[in-house]
């Protein structure tokens, strides 16, 4: 069934792009008739497709529930990128210090031997080794002041350590953001630019209808004064919601308009 011509001509097959190219084909002028041209092209394309399939189906597949999955090689034709390469993130303050001192990372085990209970306990999480809450007695030192709770002191110290760590982490992120190498799931400012190309929730301007329903103004328009409206609960929160910036701005606008109207009527 194989065409003898196909066996002789040399096609360039780029498997990563599922592409086959025949550089030696000359389209004869005799194929001036459109239908003939089409037929010739289809026939040639079939040969090329077969050439790609020969290589593609020869790869060893992993059987998946959807079908055989093969691992494609990287494409041979190099195409230009659409955006520049990401910049590597700058080393954090600890990483710089560790490099200078020659400190290397060591992997911690998930379980550690606890002498007290003579058992293997987790290094973190529920029922962990060296948990602060497990300490029954703290011996008093000469430097301790009377009236100071050492347990509370320990929790205070831990809180401070955690806060300091959080501050350092934010500093590291800010430094990375300055270079332009911020991890994509982090946005430093609460109202930062939404990441382009993502249907991220852009801060929507509150619609007048939404504000009205929140303020209960729409409900007061009904004959029963909104007593039987669904947004009964919302109406009761009016005073709290009046503190929302956008709503207060809108209120101010309304006041201005009302003032202007009253001024106009006066004059």
């Amino acid at each position: 069934m194989t065409d003898p011509i196909a066996a002789t001509s040399n096609y360039e097959v780029d498997l990563g792009n599922l592409m086959a190219y025949d550089p030696s084909h000359h389209v004869t002028a005799a194929a001036s008739n459109r239908a003939e041209l089409r037929e010739a092209c289809l026939q040639k394309a079939t040969e090329l497709a077969q050439a790609v399939a020969d290589v593609l189906f020869a790869l060893s597949p992993n059987e998946d529930r959807d079908g055989p999955i093969v691992r494609l090689p990287p494409p041979a034709t190099r195409l230009p990128r659409e955006k520049h390469l990401p910049k590597p993130k700058p080393p954090t303050k600890w990483e710089q210090f560790a490099k200078m001192k020659g400190i290397t990372k060591h992997k911690k085990n998930k379980r550690e031997w606890d002498e007290q209970t003579k058992s293997w306990k987790r290094t973190y999480g529920y029922d962990r080794v060296n948990d602060d809450r497990d300490i029954p007695i703290i011996e008093a030192k000469a430097t301790d002041e009377p009236g100071v709770d050492p347990f509370a002191q320990r929790t205070e110290e831990k809180k401070k350590r955690v806060e300091k760590q959080e501050k350092n982490r934010l500093e590291n992120l800010k430094r990375a953001a300055k270079v332009g190498a911020l991890p994509s799931h982090i946005q430093l400012a609460a109202k930062a630019l939404p990441i382009t190309g993502i249907k991220a929730d852009l801060p929507k301007k509150s619609r007048k209808e939404d504000l009205e329903s929140v303020a209960g103004m729409a409900s007061t328009a009904t004959a029963s004064g909104g007593k039987f409206d669904e947004s009964y609960l919302v109406r009761n929160l009016q005073s709290i919601l009046a503190n929302i910036e956008s709503f207060s701005l809108w209120l101010k606008e309304k006041e201005l308009v009302a003032k202007r109207n009253s001024n106009m009527t006066k004059s």
């Binding site: 069934m1 792009n17 599922l18 592409m19 086959a20 190219y21 025949d22 550089p23 030696s24 084909h25 000359h26 389209v27 459109r34 041209l37 092209c41 289809l42 040639k44 394309a45 079939t46 090329l48 497709a49 077969q50 790609v52 399939a53 020969d54 593609l56 189906f57 020869a58 998946d64 959807d66 079908g67 055989p68 999955i69 691992r71 494609l72 034709t77 190099r78 195409l79 230009p80 990128r81 659409e82 955006k83 390469l85 990401p86 910049k87 993130k89 332009g180 190498a181 911020l182 991890p183 994509s184 799931h185 930062a192 630019l193 939404p194 990441i195 382009t196 190309g197 993502i198 991220a200």
Partner: protein, 309 residues
């Protein structure tokens, strides 16, 4: 099928403007728009291209009158749209007496115009005009095969460029793993002259053959058209160099082997010491010490002799 990278991917970086940067780029989005005047043919072409690239294409419906891709100032709108929609492939259609049924295929790098190819569409047949068994219709988003026929793709500058752009436009998502059951389409591009490419889109039918490799059968599903290259602009060399940069792979460490017992091992290669050619050392201190000790030993032995006498 969402085509946006996961927001929780910590390996992705965001630059100061907020664009997500990937080390290996997998999905290029396409922006399809048109100018002030379009023809029925052009409208059909644009909507067909949009259908072929449904999931990762954006189609603008309004006309845009200040886009002139080949003029120096006329690309700013395109670059702005590219930034707003995060699209790096642009298909701009326009129709005029001088350039009827004109399509400009453009690519951007960092939202600046990288290169452009202007083609005229002739002998167009839309997707609807093809009649075939609907069961064979290629699924949306499937990875296509490509068949390029003709020596002109190598010899003619414009066609070489067009081949690259067509590949970029229609190749779909770059994946490492491919489901063999999902191959069902092929784009056939034949260079009929140094400036014209006859493009067809066919569905693939895998027929049973004796071996594990199926026999390919092509069924034309459309669209089909002749693309006549009118103008093209190649990328600036410096921009091209930068855009073609790839991620550096970690250098292979030499002389490192892993032993299950001893861990990491490396061989120390000692150069030939050439002992015969070594010179004696002039370590005077050492000689002094030797002599001193030799003297002491001689004295000690002398003393012993005297005592014994």
């Amino acid at each position: 099928m969402p085509c946006y990278p996961s927001l929780f991917a910590a390996h992705l970086r965001v630059d100061n403007v907020g664009t997500i940067l990937e080390q290996v780029e997998t999905n290029k989005k396409t922006l399809i728009l048109h100018g002030t005047k379009t023809s029925a043919v052009l409208n059909s072409v644009l909507s067909d291209i949009y259908h072929l690239k449904r999931d990762n294409a954006v189609k603008y419906t309004k006309k845009n009158d200040n886009i002139r891709p080949f003029e120096s100032g006329g690309e700013t709108s395109l670059e702005f749209f590219s930034l707003k929609t995060d699209c790096s492939l642009i298909v701009y259609g326009s129709h005029s007496k001088k350039r009827p049924n004109n399509l400009v295929l453009g690519r951007t790098y960092d939202h600046h115009i990288y290169d452009l190819v202007e083609i005229g569409v002739e002998n167009y047949k839309s997707m609807e005009s093809f009649v075939y068994d609907k069961k064979l219709a290629p699924k949306l988003g499937s990875k296509p095969f490509f068949a390029f026929i003709g020596e002109h793709f190598e010899s003619a500058e414009e066609l070489k460029h067009l081949k690259e752009v067509l590949l970029d436009l229609f190749k779909g998502e770059v994946v490492e793993n491919l489901n063999l059951a999902g191959v069902d389409r092929i784009y056939v591009c034949t260079a009929v002259s140094p400036t014209t490419v006859y493009m067809m889109h066919c569905a693939l039918r895998l027929k049973r053959s004796g071996t594990s490799i199926p026999r390919m059968e092509l069924v034309e599903v459309g669209p089909s058209m002749d693309l006549v290259v009118r103008r093209h602009r190649l990328p600036v060399e410096s921009l091209r160099k930068e855009a073609m940069k790839t991620v550096e792979h970690a250098k292979k460490l030499k002389n490192v082997t892993k032993d299950p017992i001893h861990g990491r091992l490396g061989k120390v290669y000692m150069p030939d010491q050439e002992v015969g050619k070594l010179t004696l050392s002039n370590d005077v201190k050492g000689l002094k010490r030797e002599r001193r000790e030799a003297k002491k030993n001689k004295e000690h032995s002398k003393k012993q002799k005297v005592n014994s006498e």
